[in-house]
């Protein structure tokens, strides 16, 4: 059913943006954790949330 890697909901509930410490939106289709506040999308690679500022995609860039 889920297109994404299926993050553990319990983990998802406590993950926040490492830059702004605000909640994240899980974009299952893209496999990303989106921080609207920081304008960053953190990738999920091989099931690992990569919560690094340097690895995040900027939302204003495609």
């Amino acid at each position: 059913m889920t297109a994404g890697p299926g993050l553990d909901p319990d983990l998802l509930a406590i993950l926040v943006c490492p830059v702004t410490r605000t909640p994240l939106r899980y974009d299952e289709a893209a496999g990303e954790l989106v921080s609207e506040a920081a304008g960053l999308a953190f990738p999920i690679r091989a099931g690992v949330p990569v919560m690094l500022f340097e690895e995040a995609r900027r939302l204003d860039e495609p």
């Binding site: 983990l11 406590i14 993950l15 490492p18 830059v19 410490r21 690679r45 690992v48």
Partner: protein, 286 residues
């Protein structure tokens, strides 16, 4: 975040990824620290429902802290370790966990190479629930004393100056101060020296590489040591080794523990709250 960084974050990740493949061969130091912390935790009569393991390595730390009813979240600054443990990749000084998420945070073997250690400790305190426990261990000041001396001597002999090869290290007292500055209650920092015997200096360097503990200074020496440098290193090793040809290198381990503050904890009485006068009590009788 904008101050000049001591450590190169991306190199730190790379070094951990490189160490991940054969980590079991070089895990003795991390195993020792984790065993010690697990032993200390066993003396705490308390249930810890949700646990964060920071510096999870290949998952070996979490195995020591697994218990019925505990949910463990693994996290590591390196991707390969995070994947091996089924965890999250993150830096300790930029933790991606909400406040009051954990009852216990265990940090093994990585806090010595964090750019913002006070920040990391503050974040650890924040992700703990009130009256949650933090246990940490890392190699601190005094570690690699022989290697420090020997590389300095080899540098002076071959380049006529010192190169930046050994990380700045945190000593026990500073670690204790950092814990209280980070807002922990009932905080304790103590040290333990572990001596490890080596038959030659390359084995030592090999071990350090295997545990992702080689030089990641942002301003590091970038020239590869040449033949003359290595000859100096070997010369010093042979001169200082014991009759069995082995040399003991020290790892000075720092252990930290602290509780996130809670109104129920014992604390010193407020200033001026005493009902008896100290002056009266100390006045000579008669």
């Amino acid at each position: 975040m904008d101050q000049p960084a001591i450590f190169d974050r991306s190199l730190r990740r790379l070094r951990r990824d490189r160490a991940a493949a054969r980590f079991a061969d070089h895990a003795f130091l991390v195993d020792h620290m984790a065993d010690e912390l697990a032993e200390r935790l066993a003396m705490v009569t308390r249930d810890f429902g949700r646990v964060l393991v920071l510096g999870c390595h290949d998952g070996r730390i979490a195995r020591r802290f697994a218990a019925l009813g505990r949910r463990i979240v693994n996290a590591d600054p390196g991707f390969a370790f995070a994947r091996a443990a089924g965890g999250v990749q993150c830096d300790e000084d930029r933790l991606p966990f909400a406040d009051a998420s954990f009852d216990l945070v265990v940090a093994v073997g990585t806090l010595d190479t964090v750019n913002d250690l006070p920040g990391a400790l503050t974040l650890i305190r924040r992700v703990l629930r009130p009256d949650g426990l933090f246990l940490g261990a890392f190699a601190g000041a005094g570690s690699l004393a022989w290697l420090k001396r020997a590389t300095l001597a080899a540098d002076s002999a071959t380049h006529g100056g010192a190169a930046a090869r050994i990380h700045p290290q945190v000593d026990v007292r500073a670690a204790g101060d950092l814990l209280s500055r980070a807002g922990f209650a009932l905080q304790v920092a103590d040290g333990e020296r572990l001596d490890v015997g080596y038959g030659d200096p390359i084995r030592l360097i090999h071990d350090l590489r295997g545990m992702a503990a080689t030089n990641i200074l942002a301003q590091r020496a970038r020239t590869a040591p040449g033949r003359a440098w290595l000859a100096e290193l070997f010369g010093r090793f042979q001169a200082e080794a014991g009759p069995d040809g082995r040399l003991r290198e020290s790892f000075d381990l720092v252990y930290l523990s602290g509780w996130s503050p809670s109104p129920d904890q014992p604390k010193p009485a407020k200033r001026g709250s005493a009902t008896a006068s100290m002056i009266e009590a100390l006045r000579p009788k008669g």
